[in-house]
Amino acid sequence: MAYQYEDYDVAVIGAGHAGCEAALSCARLGLKTIMFTVSIESIALMPCNPNIGGSSKGHLVREIDALGGQMGKTIDATFIQSKMLNRSKGPAVHSLRAQADKHDYTDHMRRVVENQENLTVKQAEIVDFTTEEKDGKKRITGVVTHTGGIYPCKAAILATGVYLKARCLCGESITYTGPNGLQAANALSEALKRLGIRLVRFKTGTPARIDRRTIDFSKMEEQFGDERIVPFSFTTDPESIQKEQVSCWLTYTNEKTHQIIRDNLDRSPLYAGVIEGVGPRYCPSIEDKVVKFADKSRHQVFIEPEGNYTNEMYVGGMSSSLPEDVQFRMYRSVPGLEHAQIVRHAYAIEYDCIPAVQLKASLEFKAIDGLFSGGQFNGSSGYEEAAAQGLMAGINAAMKIKGRDPVILKRSEAYIGVLIDDLITKETHEPYRMMTSRAEYRLILRQDNADLRLTPIGHEVGLIDDERYEKLLEKEKMIREEIRRLEHTTIGGSKEVQDFLEKHGSTPLKTAVSMAELIRRPELSYETLLPLDAGRKKLPEDVIVQVDINIKYQGYIDRQMRQVEQFRKMEDKKIPEDLDYSDIKSLRTEACQKLTAIRPHSIGQASRISGVSPADISVLMIYLEQYKRKKHMKETV
């Protein structure tokens, strides 16, 4: 029996990492929000690896935090080991990664969403939408539950993760469930197709979990956390999170492991052709690694704790869809795992998702007014990628309801901008993972300056309060003034100075130079130059970091800034949504088809579409100028 519930502003479908950020941002922006999940137990679940962050993903978490999202705060409260990766490399690729206590993480996020004002959490499967036609375009007016409940809403956000028509594969055994045996959502795919949305099938996988008591750690290398822990959130006081950390462990596969895998490849659903979905190349199953990198005699295996109060250990690097009996032998062939008991077997999971080229940069469907989507449903992979999109989908649903302009982060502003632009511009053929090489302006998009880049935007949106914003302005001022001071403080070649330089392996001065000039020398830094810098005031640690990086790498940063200038000009040339590309006679057919399919929002985005040539872009620019002048003429007549 259909029945109608009270009205909401926003309905969020799914309560994973994308759904939680989406729901929280809408509710925090004052919108009456409801978040649906097939199971309350699956809120912010981490069904795969037990960590948050990592190369470029750590950047995403920092950016989510700088914009006013939740993920950084929750991992700061629940991590059990923390590490800054790539410390020996440049600051742009330093990346934070924390091992989470999975249970704590889920629990913490659940408490946050349950206690969020304006937010209702509801266990129900959404199976359909109600819509109306407005100006020849479909508009979402509500969502429908499997029991027939209709929840009217102004906007809906899809964050279904890997649950749509999910099926799990473990050898010959196939179960039609989501991760961890949770209920799949089987009806929504059909409703989406009825709305004209194109779906594709992707797959991913997870390794086994092993009982800690059955592992011989003496045969493995211990991996410790950092001595000094750096928080994810800019609001977390570093002192408050210095604590005892747990270790991870490193071991390796060997020829025996590989032989077991090779002997049983015919029983792998992937190689037997049972799996239709496209899997990611960056997180290959162990059978993929053995086949594709046949010359490698061993692969790394990381044994990571799933939490403080469980004996389950995650076997990183050995995800698989081989049958249970093969898994058993395969894991036991690894040093330290000879007597391992498997708590949960590895499996592959297949699910429905969309080519995100159907979305605008605001993550709203081009063809359906008021329908947004984020997370793995958009063809991405990873908790952090999901959360980042969830946050942006939430913000933009709110902006739409409030009648404000969408928030679109540029590739030059944030990894989130790169992530979303890639998803909506390139038809990806595998789950999309963030990578530092995807960010062309990465020297500017550092994890250390995410607040400087994005907190003003978060404030403008309304997710960052005035107090935090004022603090940021103060920080900016201190950085600016200190850099100016260092550039204007000259230092001569006195004996004291020359001795100091010699001691640090630096060439002596011939003429007086600025303090900034000395900081730029690779062997020196802001910190080491303290004894020569009489006028220095005590500054906060985060200010010093910015001063040091900005001076030291100024040449590189300036060069990227100039490229960004060029890039911005193209991004700022907007293309009207209703442009009829078939009207542009001089476009090549391929370009016309691609542009019509993707409908880029700017000349910049158009230029990144494969199959659109520079000449097509020139033609498009001429056409837009003509279009503009014609419009101007009409207006002035």
Binding site: C48, C283, G317, M435, S437, R588
Partner: protein, 458 residues
């Protein structure tokens, strides 16, 4: 103004009396000042009033290139509504090209086909009604440029560029894989390998630039196709022109099954001759391919030399060829004047309504008349050098110079002990610049290489 400074030869690369190099953009006058010298040596173009003409010389460093008149026109009343400088020189392909390259070396970028017109329109200098025409120009000029640039690229150059690019992307993929997955992939000891690699590629590219200076990056000359029925004597003609036994000459019709290429020089005019397989209706698969290639050669050619077999009757195959070459600049030869003729020359001339030259490719008779005809056609402007050849060469050089600059930055970073995430960006820029030469855009090359070469993952 939001666009960079561009330059191109705006008169067409011919042997005509005057050549014009046009520079447009913010930096136009500054760049011109760097290479222009007035007779007194004191005048600065930057100080000159707009729309004035200045006599002087163009220098590359201390070396005079040409005596010129320079027109200085300041924005907005110019063709592009930007600052524009036009350098009128004495013409001649070599001089024009040299001036253009000097302008580029001092900071301008070679203009894309149709780019001046594009700017003129975008800056409001061309009427709205012309928009369609402007778009057509851009499209057709670009298609032509792309087509000819790839066609002219020499095989060995292409291979060299591809080798360097492959080597670069492997290094970048290694770096990026280790940045994305530092616990799986270690970069220890790679610095030295990179240093050696960068030095090697810098040397290789510098050598390529030297080659480019003598204009040998591309196949030069008037693209000339020799066509005719099998055994009409096309290969013999090529041998006669080039003076060496290059093409295989036999009495068996259909011997030349591929397109041979030869550069010959006639009165200082360089012809890039394609000897083609004989055209006839054939069932032989290999020969069929040869025939298709011949048709393709006709399409590409600036000049077609059609060899009629004077000893055989003029038949259907000849008529088919006449049809194919109808729109081309053509010289028709009646070959085998040494044998008894199947048809009178005058009679055939009347039928075809075209003049013929009687030759004997075997004995060299009629060669002088052929050469004179080619010379006349060239100096009357009936056939001209494909401008794109020089434009392509300039663009290729610019791309190589850009790649070199990027590699030198990599070297600097390596020497300064910078971490690899800094120089991998410049490495990648070099890869992108080189890609422009072989017409390859970036796409997902890097990500693809990372995944195919490195075992990443959690």
């Amino acid at each position: 103004m939001e666009m960079d400074t561009i330059a191109a030869v705006s008169t067409g690369m011919t042997h005509s009396g005057i050549g014009k190099i046009r520079i447009s953009g913010d930096e136009a006058i500054r760049i011109a000042d760097k290479i222009y010298r007035s007779p007194s040596g004191k005048k600065k173009l930057a100080d000159a009033p707009s729309h004035t003409i200045h006599y002087g010389h163009i220098f590359d460093g201390d070396q005079v290139i040409d005596e010129v008149l320079v027109l200085v026109m300041k924005a907005p009343k110019t063709y592009t509504a930007e600052d524009v400088v036009e350098i009128d020189c004495h013409g001649g392909i070599v001089v024009m090209n040299k001036i253009l390259e000097t302008v580029i070396r001092y900071g301008a970028r070679p203009a894309e086909p149709g780019e001046f017109t594009k700017r003129a329109f975008l800056n409001g200098r061309i009427d709205l009604s012309q928009a369609e025409a402007v778009m057509d120009i851009i499209r057709s000029k670009n298609e032509y440029a792309l087509d000819s640039s790839l066609r002219q690229l020499k095989g060995e150059l292409k291979e060299k560029i591809q080798d360097i690019r492959k080597s670069i992307i492997e290094s970048v993929a290694f770096i990026e894989a280790s940045l994305d997955d530092p616990e799986h992939i270690s970069m220890d000891g790679q610095d030295e390998i990179f240093r050696e690699k960068v030095d090697r590629h810098i040397a290789e590219l510098e050598k390529l630039l030297d080659t480019a200076d003598s204009g040998r990056l591309i196949k030069e000359g008037i693209k000339t196709a020799i066509v005719g029925k099998p055994n009409a004597g096309k290969s013999s003609l090529l041998n006669m022109l080039s003076g060496e036994e290059r093409a295989i000459v036999t009495d068996v019709a259909g011997t030349t099954r591929d397109v041979l290429e030869e550069t010959v020089n006639i009165h200082g005019i360089s012809l890039n001759i394609m000897d083609t397989a004989g055209i006839r209706d054939t069932q032989d698969v290999v020969e069929r391919i040869g025939v298709d290639r011949s048709k393709d050669a006709i399409r590409q050619a600036d000049l077609v030399i059609y060899v009629i077999d004077g000893a055989a009757p003029f038949d259907e195959n000849d008529r088919a060829i006449m049809d194919m070459i109808r729109d081309k600049k053509t010289i028709i030869l009646l070959n085998k004047s040494d044998l008894s003729q199947a048809m009178e020359k005058e009679e055939l001339e009347k039928e075809l309504d075209r003049p013929l030259i009687a030759v004997s490719a075997k004995f060299g008779d009629g060669l002088d008349e052929l050469e004179d005809r080619i010379k006349d056609m060239f100096f009357n402007g009936q056939i001209d050098l494909n401008d794109q050849i020089y434009i392509t060469n300039t663009r290729h050089k610019k791309a190589i110079m850009d790649a070199l600059d990027s590699l030198k930055l990599v070297k600097e970073s390596l020497d300064a002990g910078m971490p690899e995430d800094f120089y991998s960006i410049d490495f990648m820029n070099a890869y992108t610049s080189l890609g422009k030469i072989i017409g390859e855009s970036l796409g997902e090359d890097l990500i693809d290489t990372i995944f195919s070469e490195f075992c990443m993952g959690k």
